[in-house]
């Protein structure tokens, strides 16, 4: 059973927060870094405390470290060598394999995220703007007393209107599928993956093979930890809306094109497999139904949900494509940054998009596979295309929509998204945080 009092809450609970901030941190020396970890660890929420949270809770804090961060804090080289290669190398070093080339190349990434001096991220969720400002001010004041720790960059995460459903800047409803972990008392909704073994996301537990895989050493450092893949993607809302207009004459047609790209209707998340022609709000918001479908039997040719649509690429549901979907899952956390672009406004060129952490136990098998193969492999199911949203597309964009009598190609002049940041972090358990704090 997962040690809920030792696991950071981040991947397992969703606090009642409306706003968040990521602060990317650098340590000048081990003493300052360890002191910071020691001081912050006190307020890091565990799954247990956050699950039992009361309505009066105002803020939630999580801490994660890069490989350089662990080294800087004083983890010895023998231990460091036991961490998996993707984490040791960092995301930027693996750009070619991940498909982060051209405009998506790490040379163009923002927020100093590729800096060798990036050591940690502190993720703050706050109930409201006032609480966020209070916390950030307090952290900034704290850093004045601990000048060996500095903030390399910050990113403010805030929901965009309309607030009646969770969505990103393009307007797609989000958080419709998330892995469920065995033993936490939550049942997967119909059609979702069966509950996962804790070891798929947390180190030190049996995974889907039934065994506990080799873990980084010492155990006190790795147990109850997870790896996080951070990904910042800029969303080109103007290009997206132009694309819809160029490929649909009426509002209804444009909405259908938007749905074909995703595999779900934009505002409700209702799956195209179950309602291919018209959005169905009731279905979209019914958790018992909105994942209750497959492709192999219900839509083998993709006439309802195109084979190249985002949800069909990233969650294949089809045993002809993969027999180990249960080993490709990630827990996604994150949200939108940047200003809202109103429906009728021209693109103002502002930087807006999503900044997401993908939690998993094995960066290579889980996160890197999803990005390098299902998002970016043009050979995926013979399509010669990439994922419309998660794919790294340089220049023009194209997608095939199966249609009788012949398939239709939708085309755009520019990609809708650009990768503008990324890094690998290790999210330790609470005992591990204390261990790290004690290194100096």
């Amino acid at each position: 059973m997962l040690e809920l009092e030792d696991v950071q809450h981040y991947l397992l609970t969703r606090p009642h927060a409306t706003i968040a901030q990521y602060n990317f941190i650098s340590f000048k020396n081990a003493e300052s870094g360890c002191k910071w970890v020691n001081d912050i660890a006190e307020i890091v929420g565990t799954v247990k405390t956050v699950m039992a949270a009361s309505e009066t809770d105002m803020r939630w804090v999580s801490l994660a470290f890069t490989f350089n961060g662990l080294r800087k804090l004083g983890v010895d080289e023998t231990s460091l060598a036991t961490f998996p290669e993707p984490f040791r190398q960092g995301m930027a070093a693996r750009a070619q394999m991940l498909g982060d080339t051209g405009i998506n190349h790490p040379d163009n990434w923002e927020d100093n995220i590729t800096s060798e001096d990036l050591h940690a991220v502190i993720i703050l969720f706050a109930r409201d703007k006032e609480e966020r400002e209070r916390c950030i001010k307090k952290h900034d004041e704290y850093l004045k007393d601990n000048p060996g720790v500095e903030t390399l960059s910050s990113l403010l995460i805030e929901a965009v209107p309309p607030y009646d459903y969770v969505h990103e800047h393009f307007g797609y409803r989000d958080r419709l599928t998330t892995p469920v972990i065995e033993g936490l008392g939550i049942e997967p909704t119909p059609g979702s993956h069966p509950s996962s073994k804790a070891g798929e996301f947390f180190l030190g537990y049996p995974d889907e093979t039934g065994i506990i895989p080799l873990q980084p050493q010492p155990e006190i450092l790795s147990k109850n930890g997870s790896f996080l893949a951070y990904r910042k993607m800029r969303e080109h809302v103007g290009a997206f809306r132009e694309f819809l207009k160029a490929n649909g004459k009426t509002v209804e047609e444009q909405e259908l094109v938007a749905a074909k790209l995703m595999g779900r209707w934009r505002k409700t998340g209702a799956p195209l497999v179950l309602c291919p022609d018209k959005d169905d709000r009731e279905l979209g918001f019914d958790d018992k139904k909105n994942n209750s479908f497959d492709y192999e039997k219900m839509d083998p040719h993709g006439y309802a949900c195109p084979i190249g649509s985002h949800i069909r690429r990233m969650n294949v549901r089809d045993s002809g494509v993969s027999r180990i979907m249960n080993r490709r899952l990630i827990i996604r956390r994150g949200g939108t940054y940047g200003p809202y672009l109103p429906e009728d406004a021209d693109d103002d060129g502002a930087n807006r998009g999503i900044a997401v952490f993908a939690g998993c136990a094995d960066l290579s098998r889980q996160f890197e596979f999803l990005i390098s193969v299902w998002a970016n492999d043009p050979g995926f199911e013979e399509l010669n295309e990439k994922d419309p949203f998660a794919g790294s597309i340089n220049g023009a964009f194209e997608m095939t929509i199966p249609k009788r009598p012949i398939k239709k190609k939708v085309k755009g002049l520019n990609a809708f998204t650009t990768v503008t940041g990324g890094a690998y972090f290790f999210l330790p358990g609470i005992k591990a945080l204390k261990y790290l704090a004690s290194l100096k």
Partner: protein
């Protein structure tokens, strides 16, 4: 596939490959990526057999036959054209050759492939080979390493209908059947 469109499936093509098996080193998740050739993706793994295990290995031919008979789509995720298993001895002891031709970069789907081998009982055939990791059930990286270490890259590959995938061939044959059926109805 893009290559088909570019060069045309009707023009046979051959490609000579450098010793490493690739022209430009591009790292995948498990090591250098081997390129697609006119004969698509593939590998040739050659490993020495442990003494006295020949019959055990030959038995597995039947195991795979039965698995595919029982569930014809069992190997579908591997996007295979052909598998060839050969046992031979040219004076240096018995060797096992495993040659596969398929339409995906094998490395990309390595974990899927190993999970499939495990679920169909194929993996246990490799236990009869020298150097196969003892912890193969749990240590995927060691299994991948084993395959990569024993992979002998081709120095020439040829395709009579280059770069065409198994799915495209199956679609073409289905179309042919459909046209035949249509013509029958026109009689």
């Amino acid at each position: 596939m893009s290559n088909t469109l570019k060069n045309g499936w009707s023009t046979p093509a051959a490609i000579a490959l450098p010793k490493e098996g690739y022209f430009k080193k591009e790292d995948g998740r498990y090591g250098p990526v081997f390129p697609q050739t006119p004969a698509n993706y593939g590998f040739t793994v050659i490993v020495k057999v442990k003494p006295g295990r020949e019959d055990a290995i030959r038995e597995y031919g039947k195991t795979i036959e039965d698995a595919v008979k029982g569930s014809p789509n069992v190997l579908a995720p591997l996007k295979l054209h052909y598998l060839r298993w050969v046992l031979f001895d040219v004076g240096s002891g018995l060797h096992f050759m495993y040659q596969g031709i398929f339409d995906t970069d094998f490395d990309k789907y390595m974990e899927d492939a190993i999970a499939l081998f495990n679920s169909t009982g194929v993996t246990t055939v490799f236990v009869n080979l020298e150097g196969f990791p003892d912890d193969w059930r749990t240590n995927i990286n060691a299994v991948v390493k084993f395959f990569r270490e024993h992979q002998c890259p081709s120095f020439l590959e040829y395709g009579e209908y280059p770069y065409v995938s198994a799915d495209e061939i199956k679609k073409a044959l289905k179309l042919k059947d459909a046209f035949s059926a249509m013509l029958d109805q026109m009689q």
